[in-house]
């Protein structure tokens, strides 16, 4: 059979997001895959060098469209570490609640993309609707639906409004009530199992060798989670489980995501229960004249896709000298995806890609 070069994306119907893969195919078998990112390269890291420390927040949260909150968090942590700023206790807890809400929202968005791609349109609509309920919470808290700029160096922008924690609990209960329905129609559906079982399989050794983090690693049985390994915010003060699976295929990755969502909801309830009283904000210097001493820092958080890191360098000025984000999709989309697609079937490309949670804006930056 003849070998054909196939451009899969960015305009291909099977592609979700602005990402492209060049496939060398023979029949419907993939011989070689070359990831071709760059459709969303906006040069944020360069732009950040021209803006002051505080002006960078609107840029930072736009790097990853799906989960801007973890981006804010990692940047705020980097600035706090460089400038030695303390965060009040209550602000740490509020940050954790807020980040877990963002994780649930982001996983629901991922569930939308994944079920839509597999043809489970009903589940996709449900997931989108439930994500919208979480966006409503964010809107009440911050005024913005998608980009919030809520976490600042030194704490959070403002305290929870009165009765807000009850609203969080109510919303999460109303979403939680639908978990059996989700299970019946999607997760326990034999069609879903057949479509995902054994697809895009990697072993634990391979995942570690190729820089896998997040669900890709946890689906191979390794419970590697930054929230446990190197706790930030209030994650060391509450107890929670890290869901893992053993098989390392698309099915186990999606099941890890499902379990993580449920665990996050339980974690939010525990955090709300233990939420201490006090200040939520430590004053930082005047943002227009704020200079941070020379230094460098690497900080990381567990975003909903895995290890999200930031390498930040200051030369003593009022702007970052260099900022470099280590995003989880980077190794997933550029290294692991290329290796896993070799020998796979064309019909599984989107399936494998979304099960690894590859998000293009995060790669291109």
């Amino acid at each position: 059979m003849r070998e054909v070069e196939l451009y899969f994306g960015p305009q291909h119907l099977g592609m979700v997001g602005n990402f492209s893969i060049t496939l060398n195919v023979e029949g419907d078998k993939i011989l070689k895959a070359t990831a071709d990112p760059g459709f969303l390269h906006r040069g944020f890291e360069k732009l950040m060098e021209y803006r002051t420390w505080m002006q960078n927040f609107p840029l930072v949260c736009r790097i990853n469209v799906v989960e801007p909150d973890h981006m804010e968090m990692v940047y705020a942590m980097g600035v706090e570490k460089l400038a030695n700023i303390e965060v009040p206790e209550r602000a740490e807890w509020i940050r954790s609640i807020y980040l877990e809400l963002a994780r649930v929202g982001s996983h629901l968005f991922g569930l939308w993309a994944y079920s839509n791609m597999l043809g489970f349109d009903t589940v996709a609509q449900w997931a989108m609707y439930h994500r919208d309920l979480i966006l409503d919470l964010f809107e009440e808290l911050t005024g913005g639906r998608v980009y919030h700029i809520y976490i600042w160096p030194g704490g959070v922008r403002r305290d929870f409004p009165e009765g807000f924690t009850n609203k969080i609990v109510e919303t999460l209960h109303s979403i939680g009530k639908c978990v059996p329905d989700y299970n019946d129609i999607f997760f326990n559906n034999p069609l879903f199992y057949e479509r995902t079982h054994g697809i895009g399989k990697i072993t634990r050794e391979e995942a570690e060798k190729w820089g896998g983090v997040g669900q890709v690693l946890r689906a191979t049985g390794k419970s590697f989670d930054i929230r446990k390994v190197e706790p930030y915010a209030a994650y060391d003060k509450v107890d929670f489980e890290i869901p893992t699976r053993e098989e390392g295929d698309a099915y186990s990755r999606i099941m890890v995501i499902r379990d993580e969502m449920i665990e996050s909801v339980h974690l939010i309830f525990k955090l709300i229960e233990g939420l201490p009283e006090g200040e939520v904000y430590n004053k930082v210097p005047n943002p227009f004249k704020w200079k941070i001493g020379e230094g460098e820092s690497y900080v990381r958080v567990e975003s909903s896709r895995g290890e999200l890191g930031l390498y930040l360098v200051s030369d003593g000025g009022d702007k970052p000298y260099r900022a470099h984000f280590r995003t989880p999709s980077y190794s997933h989309g550029l290294t692991i995806l290329e290796k896993v697609l070799e020998g796979a079937n064309i019909s599984d490309v989107g399936n494998i890609m979304i099960s690894m949670y590859v998000v293009a804006p995060e790669i291109d930056r």
């Binding site: 760059g38 360069k46 060798k209 706790p231 550029l334």
Partner: protein, 170 residues
């Protein structure tokens, strides 16, 4: 191997490089560029098996690029993790002729990072199998992430020369 022993071993084995500790969980190694690969392999064998990031900083006043390899471990145990922490392996290369050996055969996920640095800073990684463009589509005289790249001038040069269809007069 615990951290004190590791620092001692590093100082003994790679005696012409400088080893430094900074804060409680970071070891900084200032290496010569020829030895980066050997040290990375040594560290990988000693538990630092996760290459988190390769980054590049343009120190234009010193006329040098600084490459930073940030290593941690895939250790999921919180207690022993505190002991291992991070390693920042740093090396400086000249700005006039930036070239360094690739580390792909130590850490396979270094491949896109090196491609990115080659594209954005113009650092050549000898031995890299495909130094093809990653993000950019145009050719640049000065690689765009270098400090002497003038973004305003670039925008003026490129986008004002784009032909515009003149509006019809009524």
């Amino acid at each position: 191997m615990n951290k004190k022993n590791l620092i001692k071993q590093l100082e003994l084995t790679f005696s012409d490089n400088e080893v430094n500790t900074f804060e409680e969980n970071v070891i900084k190694i200032y290496a010569k560029k020829e030895q980066v690969k050997t040290i990375l392999r040594y560290l990988k064998d000693n538990g630092y098996n996760h290459l988190a990031l390769i980054s590049c900083v343009d120190w234009i006043k010193e006329k040098e690029f600084e490459l930073i390899y940030i290593l941690t471990s895939y250790n999921d145990n919180n207690e022993t993790y505190k002991e291992t922490g991070y390693i920042y392996l740093k090396t400086k290369i000249s700005r006039d002729n930036p070239e360094i050996g690739t580390v792909i055969n130590v850490f396979e996920n270094a491949e896109p990072y090196e491609r990115e640095i080659h594209e954005l800073f113009g650092v050549k990684f000898s031995g890299h199998p495909r130094l093809i463009p990653l993000f950019l589509e145009r050719d640049y005289e000065v690689p765009p992430f270098r400090k002497n790249f003038d973004t305003r001038k670039y925008v003026k040069d490129v986008f004002e020369s784009i032909p515009v269809i003149p509006e019809e007069e009524e």
